[in-house]
Subunit: 322 residues, 2 copies
Amino acid sequence: MALNEFSLIKQYFADATQKRQDVIVDIGDDCAVLCCPEDSDIAISIDTLVSGIHFFADVDPFTLGHKSLAVGLSDLAAMGATPAWFTLALTLPELDENWLSAFAEGMTALASQHNIQLVGGDTTKGPLTISIQVHGLVKKGTQLRRSQAKLSDKIYVSGTLGDAGAALQKRLSSWQPSELTEQDWLFLNKRLEQPSPRLAISQKILPFTHAAIDISDGLLADLGHILETSGKGARINLDAIPLSSSLQKIDRQQALKFALSSGDDYELCFTVAADQVAAVEALNLDIQQIGEIIDEQTIVLLDEDGKPSILDITSKGYDHFA
Amino acid sequence: MALNEFSLIKQYFADATQKRQDVIVDIGDDCAVLCCPEDSDIAISIDTLVSGIHFFADVDPFTLGHKSLAVGLSDLAAMGATPAWFTLALTLPELDENWLSAFAEGMTALASQHNIQLVGGDTTKGPLTISIQVHGLVKKGTQLRRSQAKLSDKIYVSGTLGDAGAALQKRLSSWQPSELTEQDWLFLNKRLEQPSPRLAISQKILPFTHAAIDISDGLLADLGHILETSGKGARINLDAIPLSSSLQKIDRQQALKFALSSGDDYELCFTVAADQVAAVEALNLDIQQIGEIIDEQTIVLLDEDGKPSILDITSKGYDHFA
């Protein structure tokens, strides 16, 4: 198979994404050339998904195309950046036009939704591997860092947590609680396979937020990155952890375990100064206050009876919860 | 193997590359944040190298690290851009510290030479695959396009052509002409495994050049891209094709075949208006005028006896030469 990288990328992907004014040279030359507005910096993130590691080899290619781009868009959201351009390095074992067409459709649909243009790529033959680099614009000085959490900040998360983890658990084991209906599984699988990057929320909370991260490895692990880089700790009210109506049906300890420790949520976790809470709440976003930043470098989990579990984040003690 | 992407990338790569003033947020957050000067645009290119396809699985990891980055730097040179930042998506079958250390050494040595900083990356487990995206700065309006060749432009190439092709041919077959010494093979292999991106030449010819491309797929194929996008043809003097002293030792037809049709040279091919030739020659660069742009969309190859071979580039007739 001699894939012509430009024609393949153009045929399936490029012509189906937005055409932006700030793309000076598009696909088809040695480089793409991009214009950054004077008042902005460029935020970039690259992620690789490998078949059999990050996704099941038989996954629906439409949802895989969606998720491959969503992962990067979620990083842009966590940084407070607005999507602009992306590149796609696609390694394929064979040229399966049906697969490729569905994969491209899932990817370009999400790209159009967020006005991000495919500006470059490479296609090679080999084991199925997808690397995507996203580029966003962020007004100078406004980027959301992990390291800027302050004492007494309130901790928020978007959406609901643990849904993707529950869907994955079902795929990987015989776990299938009788409380969950087919409708629940459709919802949970969609949360796993087609996450929604929280770009709209990110732009709205930007002026009020100290620190932010996207939850890709589980709340405790990702909040842990905020705490480590900020030199702080957190007190979390387990009762406040947002659970979907599907996860509310199952055993509470199990649901909380998914919400705290499983990955692939692609929700935002961010901190807000106490005196900005009213402004943030007034935005009426799909977000939930779940705790606050403390000085001691631990994560204190408060259960409904007020009994605390204390995790030592300096020793990467997340596994203790498992 | 649970690779921690940040610690691995930081340990082996990031701390060994330049620290640039224009990197606002370095490795370790959701995105890197980069500052583009007001007078410049950003040129980007992504390339993937797959084990067994683009390189031999047993290749020296130092040279593989060098080449993985050199391929992208060569694209920046072809665009007239100055290197600034790169990202590395590395998929590894296992964590082999000796391999990784040598790979990183080869890559960071070249990065330091060209003042390009590693600002992001992803490490995953899977079949050995290396995706690198390079980012360069190009003064607004000065980017070198493939499509800007004009009638009567003189065609130049840098360095010598076909060396990498000869080295590859030896690896892939029993071909081993008796004229070539061990020293020749050392030279030819180095040309294959450690190409030198022509960034210095690119910056010097920038003001005088209409169209440019880097030669990665063979002179005829890559010059063909210039001709197709410019709607032009070319007359090439085969006598003028620059051959290394090693390739000058072998059968001339064989040497020319490598020079015209084999890949991996990573030299520049560019066109210069006739009235700029004196200025370009005065630069005293390692470049050679090999022909000129004509209106008819063919490639005419003139041999030493003046007998032309005509290639129909509109029908992608490069294979006829093989």
